[in-house]
């Protein structure tokens, strides 16, 4: 969260600084407290003097109320220390209102424990003792919302990345290793990953130059190819790194102020990737995949009577899994649980005694009978190439669709 101080605040701070410079106090805290109390007094006196003027304009500067009771109450609550909020008692046993919720809010012994501190506090009104402290580093401040650009993946078809440049096999391998551990990249399929890497732009920077600056808006992610860099937070050096390291990855998600300054400590060769390129590749692949799922689910006879909405929910819930050549995906005679869509790859379908009876490839599906029926698997399916499948189990299917499953069973064309 970065905000620049208003002019008034700056002026106020300047004034304060001048005061400190003039007085050179030995006890800075006490001096500051006295000083600001005095400032507040001045300001209040100033406003108080102008009260009639404001009242004429119907502006109440110092509200008084007709209800004398509510004043001390609110004053009291403001002066009350942190963590001493009084909650009303519809939630405690003896309260006449405890029937506002069905069964009242009787606390069980388990809960009683947890609220002991609060109860004590209500009785004695004093400082409470034993609430566990907040974890270290928890940011108790207001949290800023973040947002990436709104992109419509359905109009990416004629989009080509600006900085596409084929990398050598060696470079590809090295870069894949550099970014492989980052969650932003390790979920990408190999095509997208390759495309992302080929979109990296080469940048050289001179020794001593600043690559990114703390607080600046971030658009680029960087991988160090050659050279070394230092990281600074609030002008303190916090880290340094060399070839293979990367930084600035948050910029690939959305626009936000840089958390650190990065300075080249030698002449550097960097790879840079901008957010828009990255998001478009990611969204484009995600969107295509989604279309494919939807198309495939639509063509499956067992799911024919599903509504568009339910089909979308199903598509969202699919899990992906990769099988190596030779690996068996389902085995004839086993109890069936999952169904599978082949995103890419190739599999053999075989039956005992008959050998291979079918070959399936990209965008085919199998095992769907298991979603509705408890029949054992009718065949064995084995990957013959590296195969990526999208899959969903019967239990997940039923949790998600509930009663709709019964409708599907009724209309199941594979039965009878």
């Amino acid at each position: 969260m970065v905000f620049s101080l208003s002019k008034e605040s700056q002026a106020e701070l300047q004034l304060f600084q001048n005061e400190i410079a003039a007085a050179n106090p030995s006890d800075l805290l006490q001096f500051s407290a006295n000083y600001f109390n005095q400032r507040l007094e001045q300001q209040r006196a100033f406003l108080k003097a102008r009260e009639p003027e404001f009242r004429a304009k119907n502006i109440v500067l110092f509200p008084e109320t007709d209800e004398p009771l509510s004043r001390p109450q609110s004053a009291q609550s403001q002066s009350r220390s942190r963590s001493s909020v009084m909650f009303k008692s519809p939630f405690v046993n003896e309260d006449p209102h405890s029937n506002v919720f069905k069964n009242g809010f009787d606390m069980d012994p388990h809960e009683q424990d947890a609220h002991q501190p609060l109860k004590e506090e209500q009785q004695h009104g004093g400082e409470k003792g034993s609430t566990p402290p907040l974890p270290m580093h928890f940011n108790a401040q207001r949290r800023t919302s973040v947002s990436g650009e709104t992109l419509q993946p359905n109009n990416f078809d004629d989009w080509t990345p600006d900085h596409y440049k084929e990398k050598s096999e060696q470079q590809l391998e090295r870069l894949e290793k550099s970014i492989g551990n980052n969650f932003l990249f390790n979920k990408l399929d190999s095509d997208s990953k390759r495309l992302v890497i080929n979109c990296l732009e080469e940048k050289s920077v001179r020794n001593g130059s600043t690559i990114i600056k703390q607080g600046d808006q971030g658009d680029y992610f960087y991988v160090v190819e050659q050279g070394t860099v230092d990281f600074y937070v609030n002008d303190n050096k916090v880290n340094s790194s060399g070839p293979g390291s990367s930084f600035g990855e948050l910029a690939l998600m959305y626009n936000s102020p840089r958390a650190a300054t990065v300075v080249a400590t030698s002449d550097c060769l960097l790879w840079a990737l901008d957010r828009l390129t990255f998001r478009k590749i990611l969204l484009g692949s995600s969107f295509k995949k989604r279309l494919m799922y939807d198309d495939l689910l639509k063509t499956m006879p067992v799911l024919k009577s599903l509504t568009t909405y339910d089909r979308a929910k199903l598509a969202d819930a699919l899990d992906t899994k990769i099988y190596q050549p030779g690996e068996t995906i389902i085995r004839e005679g086993d109890q069936g649980e999952n169904f599978y869509l082949i995103e890419y790859g190739a599999v053999d379908v075989s039956k005992d005694g008959q050998g291979v009876i079918n070959k399936l490839k990209d965008h085919d599906y199998f095992g769907e009978v298991a979603l509705l029926n408890d029949l054992p698997r009718q065949a064995t399916v084995t990957a013959t190439k590296r195969t990526k499948v999208a899959t969903l189990g019967k239990s997940g299917f039923q949790r998600l669709l509930g009663p709709a499953v019964d409708v599907l069973k009724l209309n199941d064309p594979t039965r009878h």
Binding site: S6, K7, E8, N58, V60, P63, T65, S70, R71, Q73, S74, Q76, S77, Q78, R82, S83, V85, F87, K88, P90, F91, V100, F101, K102, N103, M107, H115, T131, L134, P135, N139, R142, R143, T144, S145, V146, S147, G148, T150, F183, K187, L250, M253, Y254, L283, S286, R290, T307, T308, Y309, A312, K313, D316, A317, G396, R399, L400, L401, P403, A404
Partner: protein
């Protein structure tokens, strides 16, 4: 009708005209927009998900009714990335309102034009006891303005930080009201996408009002934009999958967790580390959490969309039927017929802002007319 009487009166109308106008408003209001709970009941009788519900046929126009001159601008109640919220006072009826002011240049620079237009449209459409109400909008050359009710009790965030954490029944009360609001929004195919204590206000009686519709959006199928607040973002958003309502139920889980624990389940020092934790999905429940709420949270804060409660076939009904909410009489809660756990210690109706934090004020540039390079983006304000 209370709400018509509370309208900030527009400039240049005689009392009589105003009364006529109010009469008309009252009439059209009732015809155009059925009471939310009736609406929801109807929806539940039908199949909520099978019938893609349309938003009520309500006027979408929010501009033209108010101008800057109708209000005295007073102190800042909150600040955000592209503007601030002021307490204001109607020069006509003397009542207090809140005006959200957004800088056009900043919106365009941050590429939030679409979200801002969605925010206006959603606010204009929704009407629910637990959602903020917008009265109208206007603009000058640099800013857009949204006139809303002033909700006096401050942010749930402030109450939570002051109390550190809420007792189980208190968290349950606020969670239950939030669920009704989300249920209403989802019933109209609106996803909210920014649930957190900062965006929940408390009214004078201590009921919630969800505010800040900056990311609210009407979505028929799925959407893709990465947005929210790091601690609260669902894993499917981080991994750039298409998503819909499920993300609000995840955030509800995080909200309940934060209300009970005082901190969020995936907090870390940097957003990237938080996102990694969200994707790992490991949640540690403090020993003082009630077993029922642990069960509920494990079903909300799960990456598996076939297990996330609220996202399943019966939608929000599954959550409302969960044992943790067994004491809650939902109909009475919706009617605000339940005593709130905490009544904000304020004097109502006098612009009491004691429960809002102080923010540095800045030189206001409101009311400037003339050259407006961004006019094309904000026609509807």
């Amino acid at each position: 009708m209370d709400f018509v009487a509370g309208q900030p009166q527009p400039v240049g109308q005689s009392i009589q005209q105003q009364q006529q106008q109010q009469q008309q408003n009252a009439n059209t209001h009732e015809q155009d927009f059925p009471q939310p709970h009736h609406d929801l009941q109807q929806r539940q009788q039908h199949h909520q998900q099978l019938l893609p519900s349309q938003l009520p046929q309500k006027s979408l126009i929010s501009k033209g009714k108010y101008t800057l001159h109708d209000f005295q601008i007073m102190r800042t109640l909150g600040t955000g990335s592209f503007g601030r919220v002021h307490l204001v006072r109607s020069v006509h009826n003397g009542r207090y309102y809140a005006i959200k002011v957004l800088k056009k240049q900043q919106i365009v620079k941050m590429k939030q034009v679409e979200h801002t237009n969605d925010e206006r449209r959603m606010l204009k459409l929704v009407e629910h006891p637990f959602l903020i109400r917008m009265w109208g909008t206007f603009q000058d050359a640099r800013n857009i303005f949204m006139v809303m009710d002033y909700i006096e009790g401050g942010e749930l965030f402030s109450l939570l930080r002051k109390s550190q954490r809420f007792p189980n029944p208190v968290a349950k009360f606020y969670a239950a009201e939030v669920i009704l609001a989300l249920e209403y929004l989802h019933g109209h195919n609106i996803i909210y996408r920014d649930l957190k204590p900062e965006n929940i206000l408390l009214d004078r009686n201590g009921h919630i009002k969800i505010t800040d519709f900056g990311f609210a959006k009407e979505v028929q199928t799925v959407t893709w934009t990465l947005c929210g607040t790091p601690d609260y973002i669902a894993p499917e958003v981080i991994t750039t999958k298409p998503y819909n309502k499920s993300v609000d139920w995840w955030s509800l889980g995080v909200l309940i967790y934060e209300m009970l624990a005082g901190y969020t389940p995936f907090y870390d020092t940097t957003p990237m580390k938080t996102y990694e934790k969200i994707l790992q999905g490991k949640v540690i429940y403090p020993p003082y959490f009630h077993p029922d709420v642990v069960d509920l949270l494990s079903k909300l804060i799960t990456a598996d969309l076939t297990r996330r409660i609220g996202n399943l076939q019966s939608g929000s009904k599954d959550i409302k039927a969960h044992p943790w909410f067994s004491e809650v009489v939902w109909e009475r809660l919706l009617a605000k017929d339940i005593e709130t756990p905490y009544e904000p210690p304020i004097t109502s109706g006098i612009g009491d802002t004691s429960l809002f934090d102080q923010y540095p004020e800045e030189q206001l540039d409101y009311g400037i007319q003339g050259d407006d390079p961004y006019a094309e983006y904000f026609h509807d304000f």
